[in-house]
């Protein structure tokens, strides 16, 4: 197990964007809080207990959205870059199995990166809340300081990390296959086969089955993991009202789509490992 620590550290050495991107977002928000113009929008009832939660929820959503996009790019590059620069020949000269290599990258994409984004969101929201509360003391008072909301939101983050990891496993598995396989342009190859298959299906069979499955997986997470998401509308106000009740734990884990997706994802990860074993440099 100990070598997983090194495998994951290795990823943080190579992919400095994992902390540079959150640090940049954080710096930008803090600068806005410091020097931006304070303006109270009349519609927002500042005395409502939701303000603190909305604020925390939005900050976290901003970080996790950007970092999940980064995670996808990371997965597409992680088994491709070292083949392109031939450093795979160095990594493979060490007693680390291809299974451990691939799983360590999966762990970074599904757990480490989201964890970094939420920690960054927490630190940022505390700093920004402090600045705003001091600067606009007369207007909002302590509305952004709510210990209970802060704790609830931490629980929500953990729930998001676990459920998103399960839900997006097939997407991650697909990215790993492409990354381990292609000789160039992994981003293009991640989309092209699906697009071609979709067009063939549409013109020769006349159905949209593939598009439905892929699209449903990519934008169906909120609906699967949260109550109220089934309406298709999901906004931070809902998160804020009752973060705990909002999590659809039993619904998510009893949904067949969750487990079919996870099984397909696990198969794809296994396939990526097999491809990785057989491919050295490009």
């Amino acid at each position: 197990m100990n070598h997983y620590v090194w495998l994951i550290r290795r990823e943080f050495w190579e992919r400095r964007a994992i902390w540079v991107i959150p640090a940049t977002i954080s710096a930008a928000l803090i600068l806005v809080a410091l020097f931006g113009r304070m303006q109270i929008i009349n519609d927002v009832p500042l005395e409502s207990p939701y303000v603190g939660k909305v604020y925390l929820g939005l900050t976290g959503a901003l970080f996790i959205t950007i970092m999940m996009l980064y995670s996808t790019l990371y997965l597409l590059d992680c088994l491709y870059d070292d083949r392109r620069d031939r450093s795979v020949l160095f990594w493979k000269s060490l007693p680390i199995s291809d299974t451990d290599t691939v799983l360590s990258k999966l762990l970074v994409a599904l757990f480490a990166i989201p964890l970094v984004s939420f920690v960054a969101a927490d630190i940022t929201s505390l700093i920004v809340a402090f600045i705003v509360s001091v600067r606009a003391r007369s207007m909002i008072g302590g509305a952004l300081w709510e210990g209970g909301a802060w704790l609830q939101i931490q629980g929500l983050w953990m729930y998001v990390i676990v459920t998103a990891a399960v839900w997006y496993l097939p997407v991650a598995g697909w990215c790993l296959i492409v990354s381990a396989w292609v000789k160039r342009a992994p981003m293009l190859w991640s989309i092209l086969p699906l697009l071609v298959a979709h067009l063939i299906e549409r013109f020769f069979i006349g159905t949209h089955y593939l598009a439905g499955v892929v699209g449903g997986r990519i934008d169906g997470y909120a609906a699967a993991a949260f109550n109220g998401g089934s309406r298709g509308s999901w906004n931070a106000n809902d998160v804020a009202t009752t973060a705990w009740q909002f999590m659809d734990i039993s619904g998510f884990f009893t949904n067949p789509a969750t487990w079919i997706g996870a099984a397909v994802g696990a198969a794809m990860v296994a396939a990526a490992i097999q491809i990785r074993m057989r491919r050295a440099e490009i």
């Binding site: 050495w13 620069d85 031939r86 450093s87 020949l89 493979k92 007693p95 199995s97």
Partner: protein
């Protein structure tokens, strides 16, 4: 049992046959040169031995099946495949930390000592180092591993003569002892000639010659023959001949020196000579 044992080793890429029924046996404690022109199958053979590629036939390295057991094999074997494969973003100290973290037989003090000698400091990234320095870093990492088998694939390609010399000096002086075995591929025979104990010539996926250097003098003989004696000498069936300074140099295998003495001055061919002789001889 031999350290490396290949029987009927084959590898095809589509219709191209990279290895064609290769039989090789390499004993412990040897320095073996796998010598052949570009595209001869050297690298494919090494990739198979290191578990980097699938193959057909039987292959055992340190008693293991390389492709199935690569991870375990890499505890006892290490390799430098090509120069400059350390990634550009990696820092020297990170490289040491990482290998120390994942390799049970890595000795950090040896790596650090070697790098200090080469005057390479830890905070530098690979992209800032010259090709020669990068090779020194890779060699330092590899030599600090207590491995039974070291495999080098064209380790000095693209290096200048100074860097090459220091690479091989370090290898021979600081690394090699009777417990280790080294396999080197190269297409530059002259460079490794003095290092080797054995040479295996490979061409078009086949083993052309496999011999121990101690046997060269016994097995092979070259003689520069004056034109008037040429016909008589040719009767002894040289496997290769070349013209030099008005005489013809004939290369013989398994012909005694007593038989050849009368034709002219005898000498033992160098590995480079044999390489040229064997490969162009087969081509004609």
């Amino acid at each position: 049992m031999a350290l490396i044992e290949a029987r009927n080793l084959c590898k095809k890429y589509g219709s191209h046959v990279a290895l064609d029924k290769v039989n090789v046996s390499i004993e412990a404690g040897r320095i073996v040169g796998l010598i052949g022109p570009n595209g001869a199958g050297k690298t494919t053979a090494l990739r198979a031995m290191l578990g980097l590629t699938t193959y057909e036939g039987e292959l055992r390295v340190l008693g293991r099946e390389p492709f199935r057991e690569r991870t375990a094999l890499m505890n006892d074997a290490c390799f430098i495949a090509d120069v400059a494969v350390l990634p550009s973003w990696l820092r020297v100290d990170q490289a040491i930390d990482y290998v120390a973290g994942v390799h049970p037989r890595f000795r950090r003090d040896r790596a650090s000592g070697f790098l200090a000698k080469a005057q390479i400091t830890g905070k530098r990234r690979m992209r800032e180092l010259s090709k020669g320095m990068k090779t020194q870093v890779h060699l330092a990492l590899t030599m600090a591993i207590d491995a039974k088998l070291l495999v080098l694939d064209e380790p000095t390609l693209g290096l200048d003569i100074l860097a090459r010399r220091s690479f091989y000096d370090a290898l021979v002086n600081d690394y090699m002892d009777e417990t280790r075995t080294i396999v080197i591929t190269t297409h530059q025979v002259e460079e490794v000639e003095n290092l080797l104990t054995d040479a295996i010539f490979i061409d078009k996926g086949r083993i052309v010659l496999d011999l121990s250097l101690e046997d060269v003098a016994q097995r092979f003989c070259a003689v520069a023959v004056a034109p008037e004696k040429l016909a008589a000498a040719r009767a002894l069936k040289p496997f290769y001949e070349r013209h030099a300074l008005g005489k013809t140099v004939l290369y013989f295998e398994a012909v005694t020196r007593e038989q050849l003495n009368e034709f002219g001055e005898l000498h033992t061919p160098s590995i480079a000579d044999l390489f040229v002789a064997k490969l162009s001889g087969d081509a004609s």
